[in-house]
């Protein structure tokens, strides 16, 4: 008998299923029952693990898990003598038409979207917003989050417990905020997605595989936002473009030994062309008449890097213009520092060094590893090897990122 072997089950179906079903049930029964819901979903996964190993996994694993979790939840609610709200039982039928399947999917997407807004509720701290999003929507385990964020598992567990308490105190039902409120809440949601993405994207520490999953999860959340008529705003597409264009370069940033590779030396054939195309598509959809957001500008910079044939051919003039726009909107020392690179590429090392010299008046830069890294590059270009090495040594001593330390030390060695 030939059947779909369960190796063919979609990757991450448990993890994604977890997030989907938690959102669905919280939406249905309310955040008060969050712990019971988590237990019910865990129970459903356990059952799936026992049964699916023996048999063909169901065609629609998510709705199977949803049905089992829902039944389990109703059992515990009855046992604990909690009032069970009436609900439309038809969605839990085993036999569903294709149309009903579509309805269920829409309903799941809708509750996930509402869950995003709940997890990013303004009464929650940023730390809580991140951990709630990763756990309740992403379906990541404490261990995975701990590995990705380089924290202790207990720390994540404690933070999650506290975050849940606050969520339950402040969020009674899952809704999408309306009109004006939506605009300001969407800004927080986008910021959290951006932070999630940055956590996943940074090379500083953590397990690479899980980190990439976090990047993809951030993209998935933004896609959910873009599929809803209320939250489908240009900034959402700009953020999507930014994340796709960055993720396209994910593999090229480290070599086979796990060491960092800088932009200049990346193997550009490793860039994921599909993601670049998707990124460009969203960049086009993000078009606005005026006032591009920071996501717009960063996405555009990433676009120029992704599409340049090689480092030297990069459109530095456009990139410098984008940095200047970013700075004119809101000053940020780190953006200013980064803008030196295209400036150097256009105007040469001598001039760039002059600009950099002005920076030295600020304490901020004197403690910044990147500042010395750039300074070292400029000095080397001017054949001032001794000074360049000194700057590089400063950068090495200032960076806390071990991979970066290693990368800079290797660079120092090659300077002889």
């Amino acid at each position: 008998m030939e059947e779909t072997k369960n190796e063919q089950l979609v990757e991450h179906v448990f993890r994604h299923g977890y997030g989907k079903i938690v959102s669905f049930l919280v939406h249905k029964f309310g955040p008060t029952h969050l712990e019971r819901i988590e237990d019910a979903v865990q129970e459903a996964l356990l059952k799936a693990m026992q049964v699916w190993g023996y048999e063909t996994p169901p065609k629609n694993p998510t709705s199977w898990l949803l049905r089992v979790a829902n039944n389990h939840l109703i059992d515990t609610l009855r046992r604990d003598k909690k009032v069970v709200q009436s609900y439309d039982a038809s969605i839990f039928n085993t036999e569903r038409s294709a149309q009903e399947e579509v309805c269920l999917n829409e309903s799941i997407n809708d509750s996930q979207l509402k869950m995003i807004f709940a997890c990013c509720h303004p009464s929650l701290s940023q730390e809580y917003q991140i951990v709630l999003s990763l756990k309740l929507i992403g379906g990541f385990g404490n261990r995975e989050i701990a590995m990705a964020l380089f924290k202790k598992e207990e720390t994540i567990a404690k933070s999650f417990t506290r975050a849940k308490k606050r969520l339950k105190a402040h969020v009674k039902t899952l809704d999408i905020p309306l009109e004006l409120a939506l605009r300001s809440r969407l800004a927080i949601v986008l910021k959290i997605i951006y932070l999630l993405f940055s956590e996943g994207y940074s090379t500083s520490f953590g397990e690479t595989l899980i980190k990439k999953d976090i990047c993809l999860e951030a993209i998935r959340l933004a896609l959910l936002l873009s599929q809803n008529k209320y939250s489908n705003q240009p900034e959402v597409h700009a953020l999507l473009a930014l994340m796709c264009l960055h993720t396209a370069r994910f593999e090229a940033r480290v070599d086979q030994k796990g060491n960092m590779v800088d932009l200049e030396h990346q193997d550009r054939s490793l860039y994921n062309q599909d993601l670049i195309k998707i990124g460009i598509h969203h960049l086009e959809k993000a078009a606005v008449d005026s006032e591009p957001s920071n996501y717009h500008l960063q996405a555009a910079i990433s676009y120029y890097h992704c599409t340049a044939g090689n480092f030297e051919k990069t459109d530095w003039k456009s990139i410098l213009r984008l940095y200047k726009l970013q700075l004119s909107k809101q000053y940020s020392p780190i953006v200013q520092l980064n803008s030196i690179v295209p400036y150097y590429k256009i105007h040469g090392a001598q001039k760039a060094l002059g600009v950099l010299h002005d920076f030295e008046k600020s304490d901020y830069f004197l403690k910044n590893a990147l500042f010395y890294g750039i300074k070292s590059t400029l000095l080397l270009d001017l054949n001032l090897t001794k000074e360049s090495k000194l700057a590089l040594q400063m950068a090495i001593s200032l960076t806390t990122n071990t991979k970066e330390k290693l990368y800079l030390s290797e660079k120092l060695k090659t300077m002889g």
Partner: protein, 115 residues
């Protein structure tokens, strides 16, 4: 050739601490292992069993909640596997993913009528 009963016990103590991703990975190992047995035509039958059950004594005068002192003794499922002899059956059982989580397999030959 004889048939052997594999009884799986325990191996689920740590499941509640597993992440969804780890649970899926473990489940897929079971599927792969059993799929392999099926392919080699060694798998005769098998099903998972619910965790709770009853033991009926004295024609039903006494019904208890099962003979399980602790979770590790609960039979979580069974397989009927065909193998040349006990030694081969044990060999087959060694590939079972249950060992990843401290479970065990009891291997018993099913007696044949044509002895």
């Amino acid at each position: 050739m004889s048939n052997f009963l594999f009884l799986f016990r325990g191996g689920d103590a740590t499941w509640t601490e597993q992440t969804p991703e780890e649970m899926q990975a473990h489940m897929q190992k079971w599927g792969a292992w059993m799929g392999g047995l099926k392919e080699k035509e060694q798998l005769v039958d098998g099903l998972p069993l619910a965790k709770s059950g009853n033991v009926v004594h004295k024609s039903g005068e006494v019904i208890t909640d099962g003979p399980f002192a602790e979770g590790a003794e609960v039979v979580g499922g069974y397989l009927i596997v065909s193998a040349d002899n006990q030694k081969d059956a044990i060999e087959i059982s060694k590939g079972c993913p249950i060992f990843e989580h401290d479970g065990n397999v009891e291997v018993r030959e099913i007696m044949s009528m044509n002895m």
